[in-house]
């Protein structure tokens, strides 16, 4: 279980997170929704170690992650699919997957997991020798997810995977999220597409200007009047 307690993060004078509390129980899909600039990316980036926290704690299975180097956090089994996909456009599709397994030493296992990712995303297999920069947006998102899976994470954090993708592609991405979760991976999903995210998630949080204002099950928030007004456009 991932536990975030009273987390404060600032960029210079800008207070991006103001005492965030959040729990991600094992094998669940948890979503965090919120408007642009609410601090969603900041939360994920703090958990993965890219951003330093001001105060508070982030523990994973009881271990404090704050202050841990990024590669050690990854070794705990927490992988991240960053906002905007960020595939390595100058590497081939296959190399992108291999680099996702950068910390692993088991060659045979890595090869098997590449096959596994190709099974999840047959389109990537067809393009295995292409430069990642030549892929479409949807394919790049698949690659970013596949790359994160290559570290064999127990918890996968995704920052707006549906951003800028066609509705049909978004549907596919959400199906994959469910499939990955069925295979035993806990998912922490950030979304602006609140409708899809709440339908997919077991638990959900709403973040507003650096503070959690609501939380509950996905279904509860889906029927919450305030959520409907602010995030579902009803």
């Amino acid at each position: 279980m991932l536990e975030v307690k009273d987390l404060h993060v600032s960029y210079g004078g800008i207070r991006a997170l103001r005492g965030v509390n959040l729990e991600v129980p094992d094998s669940k899909i948890v979503t965090l929704i919120g408007a642009n600039g609410a601090g969603k990316s900041t939360l994920l980036r703090t958990i993965s170690g890219l951003v330093k926290a001001e105060s508070g704690s982030v523990t994973y299975n009881g271990k404090e992650l704050i202050g841990m180097p990024i590669n050690k956090i990854l070794e705990q089994g927490i992988a991240m699919v960053p906002e905007g996909r960020r595939v390595f456009t100058n590497l081939t599709v296959q190399e992108n997957l291999k680099i996702g397994a950068y910390l692993r030493k088991d060659k045979a296992g890595i090869q098997k997991d590449i096959e596994w990712v190709y099974e999840l995303f047959p389109r990537l297999q067809e393009r295995s020798w292409q430069m990642a920069g030549t892929l479409s947006g949807g394919e790049q998102q698949m690659l970013a997810v596949g790359r994160a899976l290559m570290s064999r994470p127990k918890l996968m954090m995704m920052d707006e995977p549906s951003l800028g993708l066609a509705p049909l592609v978004v549907k596919g991405i959400f199906e994959i999220i469910r499939e990955i979760n069925r295979q035993g991976v806990t998912v922490l999903l950030i979304e602006q597409n609140a409708n899809m995210a709440l339908k997919t998630a077991d638990l959900a949080y709403v973040l507003e200007t650096g503070e959690i204002t609501l939380h509950g099950t996905g279904a509860e928030l889906l029927s919450n009047e305030a959520v409907k007004r602010a995030y579902l456009g009803e």
């Binding site: 170690g49 390595f88 590497l91 190399e95 680099i99 950068y102 910390l103 790359r147």
Partner: protein, 306 residues
Amino acid sequence: MAKTILPYVISGISVGGQYALIAIGYTMVYGILRLINFAHGDVFMVAGLLMVYLAASLPLYVSIPLVILLTVLLGFTIERVAYRPLRTAPRMSVMISAIGVSYLLQNLALYITGGLNKNYPQIPWISDRVTVLGMETSRVTIITPFLTIVLVVLLVLLINHTKIGMAMRAVSLNFETSQLMGIRINNVISATFIIGTFLAAVGSMLFFTNYPGVVPTSGAMPGLKAFVAAVFGGIGSIPGAVIGAFIIGIAESLIKGLDTILIVHGTIAEQIGFATFSDAFTFILLIIVLVFKPTGLFGEKTTDKV
């Protein structure tokens, strides 16, 4: 005609190979840090001086590897001390730090040598005179391009087919995402400096063997030429830097010999003094490239750097 030109082409290829070995250091560091490492030419000069001092008291089979080792250590240390603490500082600060290191090395060299020309040791076999295709030259002239090509091929294999090479390509595109893969970017940056200074150390042995000696400013000209080669080839690109270096080496050498070539050809009757312009040529080339094709021959079109 061909017989007159050939020696200049051969010596140009050789000089080009030496520039290439320096230019790779510029282009690799730029590729990863977007930093023009102004100290690189001076590290090259220090390698020359180290050889002068070490070869004076140690046999060559010890001093040659020792020079390479110490030069690599110097490159590694410069990055650790002068560039790493500025990793999140504006790029201009790192650039100024690089200029500072450059002056520091030159002044240290001035202090140690007293500004005197230090004779470079004769390295047997490679300093020997040989006759190739009817022209007499030192063996190093012939060896340089081949050694350069071998080292470049090994480097390209390293970058394209090893794990550290893949990490280098990833880091050159994006620091943050590379970190998310578990790559420790500082190690990758250190590896880049180690490779760059290793090649410069090898280059210094080939270069100074053909010159009378080393002075504290000996790194400036070859450093600048190699830098122009890297820009000409498209800074960040290794094949670009190598091809740029060979083109500059050959062109420079041909300009040096232009008087003689034209006299033999019968175009002119006496020396005009083209040789004076051989250095100017390089810098005119730099200006032309920067004006008409700033990305160089093989330069990257986009920079996706956070």
